[in-house]
C-alpha cells in the first residue's frame, strides 16, 4: 500500500482542519467527516486504513460508529482511534473494549497524535500481509473495475457486492452477511436476488474468480 488513508470524524471544524493539515504534512491522505453517519458512509466509500473518531458527536457517538464498523467484515481489522473531551476512565475503557486500538483525551497534542498514528502503522506493517490482489483493481470513486486489463463499469449494487467480496479476498461471505451489508437489515429481498447480481457481475467482467460455496455463500479468489 502506497499512501495510507486516514478518515477523521469530528463535529468541530477547527479540530478537523488542524488534524487534517498535520497528518497531510506527515504524508497521509486524509478524508474528513462532520458526523458519525457520514463517517460510516465515507469509510465504505474510501476504505481508509485508519479511522479517528471523536467520541462526542451529534447523532451517532463515536463508540456507536466503532461498534457498527467492527461488525462489518470490511472494517474488522481497520485501525480505530478515539478522541475524547472527557478523560473519564470508564468511557476510555468502554472505547477500548468496543474494539478500538487507542483512546486519546483532549486537549490533544498533534505531535503525540502523529507519533501514535505512526506507531500503530508501524505495528500493523509487521503483521502478515494478506493475499496480493494481482491484476484486479477496484476504483470506488468511479465505480470502475479493472480485471485482466479490461475496464468495466458496474451498476451500483453490482459494484458494492463485488467490492464487499474483494474487501477480503478468499473469505466466504454468507448470504446473510451479504444481505446485511448491501441491502441492510430491514430491507427484504427475494431469494434469488443475490444470485442474479452475481451472475451479472460474472457476465459483465467475464469473471471466473467468484466461487460459489453451496449452502454457505460466495467468495472472491484472486
Amino acid at each position: 500500500m502506497e499512501q495510507k488513508k486516514i478518515l477523521i470524524a469530528d463535529d468541530e471544524p477547527d479540530i478537523l482542519e488542524i488534524l487534517q493539515f498535520n497528518l497531510q504534512q506527515e504524508g497521509y491522505e486524509v478524508i474528513t467527516a462532520p458526523s458519525g453517519d457520514e463517517a460510516i458512509q465515507k469509510a465504505r466509500k474510501h476504505q481508509p486504513d485508519l479511522i479517528i473518531l471523536d467520541v462526542m458527536m451529534p447523532g451517532k457517538t463515536g463508540i456507536e460508529v466503532c461498534n457498527q464498523l467492527r461488525h462489518m467484515p470490511e472494517f474488522e481489522n481497520t485501525l480505530i482511534i478515539f478522541l475524547s473531551a472527557m478523560s473519564d476512565e470508564s468511557s476510555e475503557i468502554k472505547g477500548l473494549e468496543s474494539g478500538a486500538d487507542d483512546y486519546l483525551s483532549k486537549p490533544i497534542s498533534t505531535r503525540i497524535l502523529i507519533s501514535k498514528v505512526n506507531a500503530l502503522f508501524r505495528r500493523l506493517q509487521k503483521a502478515p500481509d494478506s493475499i496480493g490482489s494481482g491484476d484486479f483493481f477496484i476504483d470506488r470513486e468511479k465505480y470502475l473495475v479493472t480485471y485482466n486489463g479490461k475496464e468495466t463499469m458496474l451498476a451500483r449494487k453490482e459494484f458494492e457486492l463485488l467490492a464487499l467480496l474483494a474487501s477480503k479476498p478468499g473469505k466466504v461471505f454468507l448470504r446473510n452477511e451479504i444481505l446485511d451489508q448491501i441491502w441492510g437489515t430491514d430491507v427484504i429481498v427475494g431469494d434469488r436476488t443475490i444470485d442474479v447480481h452475481i451472475r451479472k457481475i460474472r457476465q459483465k467482467l467475464d469473471l471466473d474468480c467468484i466461487t460459489t460455496v453451496k449452502g454457505v455463500g460466495y467468495k472472491l479468489d484472486i
Copy 2:
C-alpha cells in the same frame, strides 16, 4: 500461544506488585524486573509477548532499554509499552519514536492499562482463523482445507465434519457426538451417513489421517 507472557520493569516495588496482581487476574503470566538491566536479562530468558517499561529507572532508562531491545532481532516485534511519571510531551514522543507501541502517564488506572494491553494483543493476533499443524490447515473463513500443499474445497457437511475432528486432533469422536454436533439432536439420519461422508473426505483429500476406531468413532491424526 496459550497464555501470554508479560514482563514488567519498574523500580517501585508497589507498582510492580499492583500491576502483577491485576494482569495475573486477567489471565496473563507475569514476570517482573526491578531495573533496566534485569529487564533485558529476563526478556532474553523468558521471551515475553509484551514488555511494560517504566521510563525513569536507576541505571538504564526505559527508553534506553527499548532501544536496545529493538535492535535485537528477537525483540524486533515484541510489544512494548512505556509507563512514565512525566506527562512531558517530548518525552512521550521520544518514547513512541524509539519503537514503543504505547505510552501511558502515571498515575495509571490499572483498568485502563488492562484494556490497552488487551487491545494490543487483539490487534496482534488477527492471524487467519485456521487450525491444524504441519501441512494440514483448515481455514473456516475461506472454507478451505490445505493438505500436502494441495487446497481442496469440501461440501458443507464434509467440511463441518472434518473441522469437528480437527478441533481436537487425536480425540476420538463418538458417532453420537458427531451426529449431535453436525446434524443436531432432532435430525435423524441413517446409520451409514457418517461413513459415507468420511469416505468422501478421504477421497477428496487423498487423506490417510482419519482413523477409524471400530465400535467407537473417528479421530484425526495429524
